[in-house]
């Protein structure tokens, strides 16, 4: 051991330099806080790091082939830059990444593409198009040994060797530092239609969303928003009534989107769909959902819960008898963004106990440091799964220098 790596902020300009820094950190056993622009750095257990390693200087799109539906970018490239480039070619990121910046005290549009994939936070279209991870075709990354590794590639189909790329998605920088990603993109949807029902109780709202997903109309967004939260939508006609809002989105070529919206409207007649948004208003509505506008600056802890869709309202109902919670159901009820009162444990004990009855998992996205210091931010795993998790960490980062302890103690 030759002493500790210089404490501070490192944003190397090249992958080689980044790999060198990681190798040095491994030699000196310096725990690194790995991040892009750091918009999500407050998510995770409270940990002391020796230095910060940012990919923010690794910027640029090295390949974009619109007719092959593929884009390759360095990890520090801002998502906003990629989205703009795609829009110029009538394409988009199919997984519609949620922008956590605003709810975590940052401005919108600051996340990097590496950060989005490292955290695998997918938006409303996940139910139709798949998750961020599903669109990851290949990566270059630096593991905890300081080795630069590649997996996957830039082609749509690839089963050559183990799928390390997707395994790194959602690992929150604890296994390797993503330095470059190849992603699948898709044509942008030209016409958007959104059907809205107002004032439905949670179980009914989620039932409607399930019915919509059980049609052949390729529904691409299904949210149900609690009445109090719905008051924060930008569109006044939607926010003013102060009632719950249940929204179903269809995207397609204009004639198809209109046809499908009208068919769905007929099928859901019993639930009185009261409003149909055109493309411009639809985009405003779904942008609010994408940036979680209703949870900005509330001063309340925010949870992200994934579970079987029909169980969602049962969980929320059960919790509501004990603590004051407000829910936005996405993915037809399978994803719940839930805010809780700023109590010591941010509601963790109740949420995890209740969730155990139904199955699923909860991650604390926003909370005061005191809360993050005492509770499990990520869903605790049972012993055999935890052992495998530890073995996997060991396989990538044997001395434990990449975001150690961020997800789980000792991992």
């Amino acid at each position: 051991m030759t002493g500790h790596m210089r404490v501070g902020f490192h944003a190397p300009d090249t992958v080689e330099e980044l790999a060198y820094l990681v190798a040095e950190a491994a030699d000196t056993r310096t725990p690194l806080e790995v991040m892009g622009h750091g918009t999500k750095r407050e998510v995770g257990r409270l940990v002391q790091y020796g230095a910060v390693l940012s990919t923010e200087s690794l910027v640029g799109v090295s390949l974009y082939e619109p007719t092959e539906l593929v884009l390759v970018a360095l990890a520090g490239t801002p998502v906003a830059q990629i989205e703009q480039m795609l829009a110029e070619n009538d394409q988009e990121l199919p997984f519609e990444p949620v922008d956590l910046g605003p709810v975590l005290g940052f401005g919108p549009g600051q996340a990097t593409i590496g950060g989005v994939l490292a955290t695998n936070i997918s938006g409303s279209r996940r139910i139709l198009s798949g998750s961020a991870r599903d669109h990851l075709l290949g990566v270059q990354a630096v593991n905890g040994r300081g080795e630069t590794i590649r997996s996957g590639g830039r082609v749509m189909k690839n089963v050559t060797g183990y799928d390390l790329s997707r395994a790194l998605a959602g690992s929150w920088g604890t296994l390797a530092v993503l330095t470059e990603v190849a992603i699948k993109v898709l044509p942008a949807q030209r016409e958007v239609r959104t059907l809205l029902c107002f004032g439905l109780a949670d179980p009914t709202g989620v039932e409607v969303l399930g019915l919509a997903l059980g049609t052949p109309f390729e529904v691409s967004g299904t949210v149900h928003v609690n009445g109090e939260l719905a008051q924060r939508f930008s569109d006044e006609e939607i926010s003013r009534p102060g009632q719950s809002v249940t929204a179903i989105r269809m995207e397609n070529f204009p004639a198809s989107a209109r046809y499908r919206a009208s068919r769905l409207k007929q099928m859901l007649q019993a639930y009185a769909p009261a409003l149909e948004l055109d493309t411009a208003r639809s985009r405003m509505f779904w942008d609010d959902v994408k940036s979680l506008r209703m949870f900005e600056r509330t001063g309340r802890p925010l949870w992200r819960i994934s579970m079987a869709p029909t169980s969602g309202p049962k969980l929320v109902h059960s919790l509501a008898r004990k603590i004051d919670v407000r829910a936005l159901y996405d993915w037809s009820g399978g994803l719940i963004w839930l805010d809780t009162p700023p109590i010591t444990d941010a509601g963790a004990v109740e949420i995890r106990r209740t969730l155990a009855e139904f199955g699923g998992h909860a991650t604390l996205i926003r909370a005061e440091p005191q809360a993050r210091a005492v509770i499990d931010v990520f869903q605790p795993l049972d012993a055999p799964l935890m052992a495998l998790t530890a073995a996997l960490k060991q396989a990538f980062d044997p001395v434990g220098i990449l975001n150690p302890g961020r997800m789980y103690a000792g991992i």
Binding site: E68, V159, Y162, D163, G214, S256, Y259, P309, F396
Partner: protein, 478 residues
């Protein structure tokens, strides 16, 4: 047998066969054990039939607990295990080793639960791929990944190879449709990963298990996503005078924002064989044929096919024909799905599975033709054009050992070409034994090393399906 060798069998294990059978009979009395030579012969190969090896023993368990007991026994006795579904692997993924027990999951073929409101089903790993869709089709749902072998192949095998299919351009491959698995590790530990919800907690272990070719654990149960079937679907045929024009047309369709549900390509030799075999109505006087399928209501289908026809006009199509009836559509697909079988009637073939970036299509086909001529083989090309997944079928005589050796060299050269063009060795068939030695063409030592560290994290003694995926030299089983 050609140049690919397998890890040396452990004579101590081979000589203990009778004793191992006795012990297993006592340990798991309800498991079907096949120890006689004739019975074992059924399992000596998979769909890569050039390679054969009689296993030590074959075990057909009926429950996860039995799988766990067998694996723990093998772990404690240091016996290798080769997991197997229906044995349809085209890369030798289920090839036994002389000192291995083949663990065949075909008896575990039940649907455990169907939850339509949540659009998921829980099945045992030995159910066939089409068995899942059959169980839910009455309600208008289906399981999306559709490999050509779907009538026979098991979902467990699909998980092992991350199978794709003709419709994966729109729907994605196996990894996009699995929500959870019950996995038995080599030491017998039973682990549940994921469940009836999207995105499992913690690390994405499913991503690693799917496509790991049975090397990380044995999957006994699977939770799959179910999708609602489209209102309707209809293919059209587009014939061109050159593969260049066909490739241009594919790019043009995608550039127009249309993602067809399937986009299949056949070259002249493939068209002729399929047409002769199935009478699917394919045009015989074109160099390249595209089968393009779109979905939706009748009106939507008409609109989309009209748009595609307009785009195709820019590439001087020799033939443009929209299917006129469900019967005709079925026939068009029957031709494509029967293609491998049809070619197999004529000759033995070696099926490649490389992937290339679509923009390199013409170059790839030209070079493949050139490479095959150099080795004096005929070749037919059938592939998923939307995603660049090529399937050159090299025709050869498997009874001629010299030809077998030559055809493998020819195939290897084609796969190296795919990598050079920016693609990869295998799009859906897996590495198995077949492409094991080519892994270094695509990956560095550090890349392969990282994968081997993962293998060791799940199976420290390298007992599960050894001798596959990784180059044998430097592979820890040796």
């Amino acid at each position: 047998m050609s140049q690919l060798s397998m890890p040396r069998p452990d004579p101590a294990i081979v000589s203990r066969r009778a004793e191992i059978v006795r012990q297993l009979k006592k340990l798991v009395p309800d498991v079907v054990l096949i120890a006689d030579q004739e019975g074992r012969r059924t399992f000596e190969t998979d769909a890569l039939t050039a390679y054969r090896c009689l296993p030590l023993l074959v075990a057909l368990p009926g429950t996860t607990e039995e799988v766990s007991k067998i694996l723990r026994f093998c772990h404690d006795n240091h016996i290798k295990v080769v997991p197997r579904g229906a044995g349809t692997s085209l890369s030798g993924g289920a090839l036994p080793l002389e000192d291995s027990i083949v663990l065949c999951l075909s008896r575990m073929n039940k649907v455990l639960s169907i939850d339509l409101p949540n659009r998921v089903a829980r099945v045992e790993a030995g159910i066939t791929n089409s068995g899942i869709t059959q169980a839910v089709a009455g309600h208008g749902f289906f399981y999306a990944p559709d490999p050509s072998s779907q009538i026979a192949c098991t979902v467990g095998g699909n998980v092992a190879t991350n199978s794709g299919g003709a419709h994966c351009l729109k729907y994605g491959v196996t990894t996009n449709h699995i929500l959870g698995v019950r996995l038995v590790l080599m030491d017998g530990e039973i682990i549940d990963i994921g469940g009836d919800y999207l995105d499992a907690p913690g690390y994405d272990l499913l991503a690693l298990i799917i496509g790991s070719e049975g090397q990380l654990g044995v999957v006994t149960e699977v939770t799959v996503r179910l999708l609602k079937a489209a209102e309707g679907a209809r293919p059209m045929l587009l014939g061109f005078d050159s593969s260049d024009a066909a490739g241009g047309c594919v790019a043009g369709v995608i550039a127009a924002g249309i993602i067809p549900v399937a986009l299949e390509f056949m070259d002249r030799p493939a068209i002729h064989v399929c047409e002769h075999f199935v009478a699917a109505g394919y045009p015989l006087d074109v160099e390249a044929l595209l089968i393009v399928e779109v979905q939706g209501s009748e009106d939507e289908i008409d609109t989309l096919l009209e748009k595609i026809s307009e785009i195709a006009m820019d590439y001087n199509p020799a033939v443009m024909h929209r299917s006129q009836s469900p019967e005709e559509s079925a026939k068009i697909w029957k031709g494509r799905k029967a293609a491998f079988g049809a070619i197999g009637q004529l000759s033995d073939y070696y099926c490649m599975d490389g992937v290339i970036p679509l923009s390199k299509l013409t170059k790839a086909l030209d070079e493949i033709g050139w490479i095959c001529r150099k080795y004096r083989f005929d070749v037919a090309n059938i592939f998923h054009a939307g995603d660049g997944n090529l399937h050159p079928l090299i025709l050869y005589n498997s009874n001629d050992p010299l030809q077998l050796e030559r055809v493998e060299m020819c195939g290897a050269e084609i796969l190296k070409l795919c990598v050079e063009l920016g693609g990869c060795l295998t799009g859906e068939h897996g590495v198995g034994i077949e492409k094991r030695e080519l892994m270094r063409v695509q990956f560095t030592e550090a890349d392969i090393g990282q994968q081997m560290h993962i293998k060791a994290a799940f199976d420290p003694d390298w007992l599960l399906n050894p001798g596959k995926v990784f180059p044998l030299e430097g592979n820890r089983v040796q």
